[in-house]
């Protein structure tokens, strides 16, 4: 029994492939099959093959609306999370080595608390009698409603997803080298130009990774939108939850899940394209 490393490789990959086939592909195919059945009133599932679920879904503008809202909101939240996280990540990266680990832990410590608990925290802070509206009122402003609408969902999700963004950014900051910035500055580049021409391109891999992660997590999040949205923010993930758990229209939930999967696929594709283009431009 002598196996060269070359023909041993497929054998080594086999267990992982088998596990993936069983735990990922098989349920996915099941889901796809389910979407070609019809949901009956009261939660029943028709036995026969049917295009009714897909037909109703594609004909109904409402689902296009929630798809666009989900993607739009996810892009907005990704952008805001990036803006909020980049300076923090940069500071942590440049911090003295003695403090860096402590700062990293501080940044990701919110992950130790469940997102549900943090969401309830936001209810307390943003609610009518919460401290933010109370402070605003004390300063003489009439605060707009900050929770039980889209505003609340955006605030909550940005905070909840920031640790992922910070971690991704830190992971992608490896190429950043202070000597390059000093060289640029010594050649007369003002700080903004240094940032735009040197820092930003070098940190692009981290930015792209963080954006991908936050985007995907936003599209798939439903607990925070449910708690902070007041039932008014209808998204792909909340709709899947409602159809699967409340109205029991499993075929429709399956079809919507496949659409969500399509969104993730598209996001991965875009990520791949941009990161390859970025690699080329740096090289």
């Amino acid at each position: 029994m002598s196996a060269t490393p070359r023909n041993l490789l497929p054998l080594l990959v086999l267990p992982a492939v088998a596990v993936n086939l069983f735990t990922f592909l098989w349920p996915m195919l099941n889901l796809a099959g389910l979407s070609f059945r019809e949901g009956l009133p009261g939660g029943g599932i028709g036995a026969a093959f049917s295009l009714a679920t897909w037909g109703d879904l594609l004909a109904d503008e409402f689902y296009l609306e929630i798809l666009l809202r989900s993607v739009g909101m996810a892009l907005g939240i990704t952008g805001l999370a990036l803006l909020a996280s980049y300076p923090i990540a940069f500071f942590v990266h440049r911090a003295d080595a003695r403090w860096r680990n402590l700062l990293v832990v501080a940044c990701i410590s919110p992950l130790l608390i469940s997102a549900v608990v943090r969401t309830y925290g936001w209810l307390v802070i943003l609610g009518d009698a919460g401290f933010l509206p109370v402070i605003l009122r004390g300063l003489g402003f009439a605060p707009p409603r900050l929770v039980f609408n889209m505003t609340g969902v955006v605030i909550g999700l940005v905070e909840i997803l920031m640790p992922y963004m910070i971690l991704s950014l830190l992971a992608g900051f490896g190429r950043l080298n202070q000597t390059l910035e000093e060289a640029a500055a010594s050649l007369g580049a003002p700080p903004l130009v240094v940032f735009w021409r040197i820092v930003l391109p070098l940190t692009l891999p981290g930015i792209l990774l963080g954006c991908l992660l936050v985007f995907v997590l936003t599209v798939s999040s439903f607990i925070t939108p449910k708690l902070l949205g007041g039932g008014r923010v209808l998204l792909l993930a909340t709709e899947i939850y409602d159809q699967a758990i409340v109205t029991l229209n499993w075929p429709l939930a399956a079809a919507l899940s496949l659409i969500a999967l399509g969104v993730f696929g598209a996001a991965l594709l875009v990520y791949g394209r941009i990161s390859r283009a970025a690699e080329r431009s740096i090289a």
Binding site: L40, P41, G42, G43, G44, I45, F62, L123, G127, D128, A129, F148, K226, L227, G229, G230, G231, R232, L234, D242, I245, V246, T247, L248, N249
Partner: protein, 352 residues
Amino acid sequence: MDLTRRHLGRVAVGGLLAAPFIRPASAQERSITLAAYSGIFQDNYHAAVVEPFMKAHPGIKVSYYAMPNSAQTLGTLRAQKAAPQIDVAIFDVTIGKAASDEGLLDPLTKEEFPVLAELAPAAFAPGVHAVGVTFDSLSLLYSPEVVKPAPTSWKVLWEKPYQGKIAITGAPDIVGIGLTLVINRLNGGTDYRQFDAGIKALSDLSPGVLSWEPKPDAYTFITNGTAALGVGWNARGQLYARQSGGKLAAALPEEGSLFQINTIGLVKGAPQSEAAKAYIRYALSAEAQKAFSERMFYAPVNTRADVSAEALAATAASPERMAKMLQVDWLEVAKIRDRMNDQWRRRILSRG
């Protein structure tokens, strides 16, 4: 080392020899699994019905499998269709219909269940193998500290001082569905299948609703002061009202409300069918119905249940209240539910 191994060997041999004797002994105690709601329902149902049943039937052990809602119970029954682990399930009547249609339940016959003759007619629905086990109704929830005087009408929801302080679980939840039907009649709707008047009135209410998705529920929103008014189930409302120390109260509005029916069903192919049947007989008996009504204010389905006047007053079961209830066939509602959800999303949830 050797000693331990020998020891182990002896234990193993002993166990093998004893095995035939252990089996029949454990088979004498039969164990059934009951799937029903979690939380406050579980606490009270277990104490009022499950425990007395086990005391009366020492050979049967009931494991309470807590479910967050009816839909998940149905999902679990579906998943276990080939090899059921659950013997008895309690869920909403519309879910009972879906489960019956999918062949997940066995019918309950008058021959095997003489107790069925004692039940109110509303406990039975055509095509549903499960039968009614509790009646509940929609109630107005309010904070007695804020809402003065105590409200007697659904119309209080539209009153100016309470705008922005209302918590209601909207459609697709059944509270939102039921409320639409009640409000529809309030606004001149004569047939609940034509619910446009209800949608329109709730659409006007929407900007004043703080949350259509109060989590964990509307009762908590009012108890902790986030909201002042809400809509919820009477039984839970009455119970929380007695526990909240004046933070929450439940009112049965004078215009009437509508009933929600929980049904109890025998799972097809249940592992312990006979014990399960004994349990269902007990759950529907006057004794169990009385105990649960007095403990948690669900109106009894068994007409012979001699429920105390005080508990009965907290339910919608008194004759004058019964007369005002909106008569709804939930199986008909299941058919219009999709259409109603669409209207909710387009005209109610998207407002405000």
